[in-house]
Symmetry: C2
Subunit: 577 residues, 2 copies
């Protein structure tokens, strides 16, 4: 039984200065976590019990699905990560260090390489597959902007699993089994979530989905169709294309459009000088970027920006992407800033990408590659031809659902899990093969599946807290019952103690507020802040032989005789989740 009189805990009345989101504020104020450095936190007793409760639920569901737990070091040698190129690809997000002999190591941000090599070391036959292994482990990522407390930390706890199959059908099945296990896990954790299509590109795979916990302060934005349930992260949203209305456009016409380097200024000049009711959506923006040090142009409708993160996710094989700077323009003097059009991209040696909205057969107003001039009736397929189409324009609320054509909404969320069909990338790089039924070596196909375990503490807090404090679901709470004894007499303390002892005999964990000094008001405030699901008050009602039972979440209050208290508490608990 936890006792407030000795529990290593000091609640705080004020929000910490560096906290912006509710979970961060409340977890600090309620004495669950403390900051050690940017993105690096300690867990105090209540916090660590909560974290371990989540670990336990995750572990139980992994085990129930037949996945096997192993454990890797966090400090890993460079070599396997060099073989897959991630030693360099990871960039500054990877914590690197050297040992006393000068050998290179990293702090594992994720363990694909290590699991691949582990299976390679033990298994050699198709008969050994399918196999799914997992670990619950401390991971390291040197985030450029660690924030929101433990939501985006630099040292954090993650459950990562990896599946190994002989063929694609096997991978599909392993993927489904993980997906199901995750659904069960998050139900037990009391988290609401959407399963959202995601881009698998960066990890080198094919199918990928994210589990996103909706939360107004979440860092992830995603697209949700409230009608049909379609959900995708913004990177993975598919643009719905209508066939072009016209087929025969007049010939390309170059117009004098002095001083119109922006879309707004262009639209104004067009409408005032050339008529036709143009809007930004009729114009074509040519955004110049450097992709791995090669110039590319990306075409989007003039009323939308390029979403660099979305472009990056869809531009497979490009690792570094940035907007043209002055010096890049200086190196490409034929590009007339503010007046660029796609008509001459080939002759300029520039790779031309187009958002799908720039569909073949559509006509646009765009730059004429000449200062103070634009061109109209510039037709895709006639006057220019993109080298490739790539989803790159910003996604907006009201865009049409690719599944049912209704307008979508854009919602915010915390990513709590991510599942990937990795395919054969890692197995190939590290030569993980098994012999098939014909004795032929086959490269194994893999899946990778992660749950943010420490992040889930914050995600649950975000979704379940209210204005007065934390309010944990049963499986997550650091104790199931918080008993508050009040008054100056011994009796309420004795009764509280004996109810606590009886509850613990039934396996119901208890936090007993046995402090004599603080007022009842202070104790109630602490109980509300700490967020244990059921609060028992042993005080005034004792004159009538009763205790008060409060349900933290609903605020529901009832009285019970002392004699029936344990039975009644157990019964209320069994109805909560």
């Amino acid at each position: 039984m936890l006792r407030m009189s000795s529990l290593f805990l000091r609640t705080l009345r004020d929000d910490p200065a560096d906290a912006e989101v509710a979970s961060h504020k409340l977890l600090v104020r309620a004495g669950y976590i403390r900051r050690i450095a940017a993105g690096i936190y300690s867990w105090l007793p209540l916090g660590y019990i909560t974290l371990r409760n989540i670990e336990r639920v995750v572990r139980e569901e992994m085990d129930a699905a037949g996945f096997q737990e192993v454990h890797f070091p966090a400090m890993l040698p460079k070599e396997p990560y060099e073989e897959t190129n991630r030693w360099s690809e990871y960039g500054p997000e990877l914590f690197r260090l050297q040992d006393r002999k000068g050998a290179d190591y990293l702090l594992g941000p994720t363990h694909e390489e290590m699991f691949t090599l582990m299976v390679k070391g033990e298994y050699s036959s198709y008969k050994d597959l399918p196999l799914s292994l997992y670990q619950i482990q401390t991971k390291y990522r040197d985030e450029p902007r660690p924030r929101s407390g433990i939501i985006r930390g630099r040292e954090f706890v993650m459950k990562d699993s990896y599946s190994f199959d002989i063929d694609d059908a096997g991978l599909d099945l392993s993927y489904s089994k993980h997906r199901e296990a995750y659904v069960k896990t998050f139900k037990r954790l009391g988290l609401s979530y959407n399963i959202v299509s995601a881009m698998a590109g960066a990890m080198g795979g094919s199918k990928s989905e994210e589990f996103l916990a909706p939360c107004p302060t979440g860092e992830d934005t995603y697209v949700l169709c409230e009608k049909c349930g379609y959900a995708a992260n913004v990177e993975a949203m598919k643009t719905l294309i209508d066939a072009p209305a016209h087929k025969d456009f007049p010939a390309l016409e170059v117009l004098d459009t002095p001083n119109t380097p922006t879309i707004d200024s262009l639209v104004e000049v067009l409408n005032s000088q050339y008529g036709g009711g143009y809007t930004g959506a009729d114009t074509l923006k040519n955004v110049m970027l450097m992709a791995d040090n090669k110039p590319i142009a990306v075409l989007v409708p003039g009323d939308r920006e390029v979403d660099i993160k979305r472009l990056q996710a869809n531009l497979i094989g490009v690792s570094e992407l940035r907007i043209f700077e002055e010096e890049d323009f200086a190196k490409h003097p034929k590009l007339v800033k503010g007046y660029i059009g796609p008509q001459d991209a080939k002759s300029f040696g520039i790779t031309l990408y187009a958002d799908p909205r720039i569909a073949p057969g559509t006509a646009w107003v765009t730059g004429a590659n000449k200062k103070n001039c634009h061109a109209r009736n510039v037709v895709n397929g006639r006057d220019f031809t993109p080298d490739a189409y790539v989803e790159s324009a910003e996604v907006r609320a009201g865009d049409l659902c690719p599944s049912c054509k209704e307008p979508v909404i854009i919602d915010r969320a915390i990513e709590i899990a991510h599942i990937f069909q990795l395919g054969r990338k890692y197995a190939q790089a590290l030569n993980l093969t098994v012999l098939d039924q014909n004795g032929k070596a086959q490269v194994v196909t893999m899946g990778s599946y992660g749950i943010g375990v420490s992040r889930a503490v914050a995600a649950v807090a975000e979704q379940t807290h209210d204005e007065i404090g934390l309010s944990w679901p049963i499986e997550v709470a650091p104790a199931k019952v918080h008993i508050v004894a009040t008054g100056k007499e011994d009796k309420p303390f004795d009764v509280a103690e004996s109810i606590g002892v009886e509850l613990e005999k039934l396996g119901i964990t208890v936090l007993l507020d046995d402090r004599r000094d603080p007022s009842a008001g202070v104790k109630f405030k602490d109980a509300e802040l700490i967020g244990i699901p059921i609060i028992i008050v042993v005080g005034k009602a004792l004159e009538q032989g009763n205790v008060e039972i409060r349900v933290r979440k609903s605020g529901e209050k009832s009285e019970s005789s002392v004699a029936d208290a344990v039975k009644n508490i157990a019964s209320i608990l069994s109805k909560l989740s």
Copy 2:
């Protein structure tokens, strides 16, 4: 229920090439651990269950003692370790790294600083004390020679506790409580051990003891008196001094002793030219060392070497110690190598330390500080005076017990735990004070207590294995019962399965060997290697309606009817420990 048909496990017939000690060989062969890099290991499923079993026992005993679990990051900012000087004092054993902004971090080798600051952050009154906090956590030390598998790793799991008290009496009590909790823990883990006096110096404290698990291949040597039970690690062994036999020695006499730079050559010349039956024990060795770049001489009897580790442990305040090299002699030309005596130490500007055997009033043969000359009747207190006495001579079996004067033995062991009275060093450096009853700020006094959790897996394996494999105590074993089904028929497999199911219903964990391909012999060998305490064979005896029950440790075999098997197994289990 674990099943061999799907368990991620391949046992090996051969010992790994890099393994020297039994636990390392067997843990690799039985598929518990795999090497990733020097001193860095992964845990396979059976190994990880075993590790977690030990963690669980440690946690339960810590909780039962009223200690509270918290959890720190492994990656820690430099600043607190600078305030206590350990950032530099730790030397190359500390893994250091920088983040993307160039800020310095370390991977925690131990967490005194962090715990001190945590308590400082929350507590401020003597009423808050005593307090003991612990964590079970991954630690990092860049060992110069990582070896013996997981016994001396560079990334390892440790339970570290810290106690906080207002005064010395409180510290004594907290220390005792930890000591008792450790005794209970190791009993449950089935480890035999000696509690051994140790040096607390390096950690800056006073009282200190080690829990050493005797083991012929252990890295730690310690002194044990089989008569009275006195035990000390070699560094902490106290020399028993007899009062000198004589009081009036003849005057110091310089002798010609050509070509006698060693003790043996000196003794030969003495006895042949000057008579008197000298032995090495009558001579005095002057060992020159550099202590933090200052020259010191250490006097030990000629028949013993200086034990540098022992000297270092007893020479408080010296962080770097090394034997004189040629260039050091070059800088001190008055020192005649091979013929140095303590008579002129003061005039040479050398600090003179003496082993306690060089007691005041004793007379010696030693160098005359002149080539090819020695002196005899060189008396401590008359002809030289040590600046200080320091335990520095090697300890040998047969040395006398300081407690009962009987000859001691020297034994080998694995250090499994270490308890320290740290005192106020860290609290002082980091300014951890609380207000006492009079409202006056008092520096808190601390203890530090560690158990090597991952090392304990190896220590238990070392002490309990036999020539055919591992043989785990009940609380540690990855499963309690290993059921081996043999033969080609379905029946033994069905019976084995149903016994397994019934055992698990009772909470008795089972590893079922349900493989159809391997021979019975291969399965038995695997079971013996894996080391689960009870092995059930479901095979031939089934014709008589029986199964065979084998106790792994004793080799005892009995038969039981299938109907009574579960009851009989449970009964045998309850008698094992």
